[in-house]
């Protein structure tokens, strides 16, 4: 929306007139009813559970309904170490979720492998196979950090345009909504990353070009 329109809207609201757009209304509804998948991997999952309970109360953000089926969920919180043996299942769960769908990579392990990065059994970041919307560092991140990630995601949803070339994936049928599930190879996962999703030099904070 143009800046003058925004100013006009503020000016009108000061005089008791409420205006909105379809896009705003649509995104407002979507961002306040994100349904995460009941899915935990490691110690980060304990913090995720704590976030949903009374003390931190994720329900304040409209995300209290953790769905037990990927068919009914639109957010997957990758909470913990993704082992190579688990990675195909994580990608498969993501593929089974209907659009629009979002991913939060919670904690150092989900981002990059974390303290287990050198291990033979650990996937070095879930962003190798699925597109991640919000990364939260921490080992594990505190519930406040997960809430912050959730608010960041809400902001991201709020800013999505419904039309035009910048429209999100679920409104653009040329963009994929499913991603290839890695296979168990002789020495590791095959392929080691999905280059459509994983942009090593640009996106990976651990890759440093001298």
């Amino acid at each position: 929306m143009a800046d003058e329109l925004k100013e006009l809207k503020i000016e009108l609201s000061k005089n008791g007139i409420f205006t909105t757009t379809l896009e705003e209304l649509y995104n407002w509804g979507r961002k306040n009813s994100v349904w995460p998948l009941t899915f935990g991997l490691a110690c980060c999952a304990i913090e995720m559970i704590a976030t949903t309970m009374a003390r931190y109360d994720l329900a304040r953000f409209g995300a209290e309904v953790f769905r037990p089926s990927p068919r009914q969920a639109d957010l997957i919180i990758v909470s913990g170490t993704v082992t190579k043996k688990m990675a195909p299942q994580v990608v498969r769960l993501y593929n089974q979720m209907p659009e629009p769908k979002y991913v939060i990579a919670m904690g150092a392990c989900a981002i990059s492998g974390g303290p287990f990065r050198d291990g033979y059994n650990v996937l070095k970041g879930i962003d190798r196979y699925i597109p991640v919307d919000v990364h939260i560092p921490g080992c594990p991140p505190r519930p406040e950090a997960l809430i912050h990630a959730f608010m960041t995601l809400q902001k991201k949803i709020d800013e999505q345009a419904l039309a035009g070339s910048a429209r999100p994936r679920h409104l653009n049928k040329d963009l994929p909504s499913e991603f290839p599930v890695p296979a168990f190879g002789e020495h590791g996962l095959e392929p080691p990353q999905n280059n459509e999703v994983f942009h090593e030099a640009a996106g990976n904070p651990l890759k440093v070009i001298q």
């Binding site: 043996k85 492998g113 990065r117 050198d118 033979y120 059994n121 070095k124 168990f184 190879g185 002789e186 020495h187 590791g188 080691p192 990353q193 651990l206 890759k207 440093v208 001298q210």
Partner: protein
């Protein structure tokens, strides 16, 4: 009643199982966890003796693990008489230092820690060694003696490649079936595309 010293256990095993040869491996550290190296041919009989012996009753195997001992190279300096060409072209016999390298082949080791629930004593540490690290990686399974060793022997098979003969269900337990490497071996190298890039500040 406490267990007798390892030397006595060794002597009693060798008396109890004809033909068995047991080597005591002493641990010089303060923990003094000495262990018994068994020969593969009699390991099963020795294990049964340890379990059923009326005074020892080592009925509980707490731990089975693998150890990888890679091939090592020892070098020693030897004095050799040799014809040496001097700078002016004349040859003369001289004593020269030469470094001789000998390769010591490595092996894989399965380690068992035994306790007695009945007698409330322990522990006795057993070791079994394979012939080498490549083609002769067999040791007898002790799962028929201590049932609890089953999954831990599978783990040692999975991660070190020790083949336990006589194991009831020897499959990989942590890695998938098509996996070819043994990741806990010292010479394991993870796939090149996964090796982390380390940040260098210049």
């Amino acid at each position: 009643m406490a267990l007798p010293p390892v030397e006595q256990i060794k002597a009693q095993i060798e008396a109890g199982v004809p033909g068995a040869s047991v080597t005591v491996i002493l641990n010089g550290s303060p923990s003094a966890q000495h262990s018994l190296l068994l020969d593969p041919a009699h390991a099963r009989a020795v294990a049964e003796l340890l379990r059923d012996h009326s005074e020892w009753r080592l009925d509980y195997c707490t731990l089975v693990t693998g150890v990888d001992w890679p091939d090592t190279e020892t070098s020693e300096k030897v004095k050799v008489r040799k014809f040496v060409k001097a700078a002016d072209g004349t040859e003369s016999e001289q004593e020269v230092d030469e470094v001789r390298k000998t390769k010591v082949p490595g092996y894989l080791e399965a380690v068992y820690h035994l306790f007695s629930m009945e007698k409330k004593h322990g522990q006795v540490v057993l070791r079994l060694r394979t012939g080498n690290r490549t083609d002769d990686t067999h040791v007898p399974s002790l799962t028929p003696v201590w049932r609890g060793a089953e999954f831990q022997e599978r783990e040692a098979f999975d991660l070190y490649g020790i083949v336990f003969d006589g194991h009831p269900d020897l499959r990989r337990i942590l890695m998938w079936d098509g996996f070819k490497d043994y990741p806990m071996r010292k010479d394991y190298v993870p796939p090149a595309d996964e090796i982390p890039v380390i940040e260098v500040h210049s």
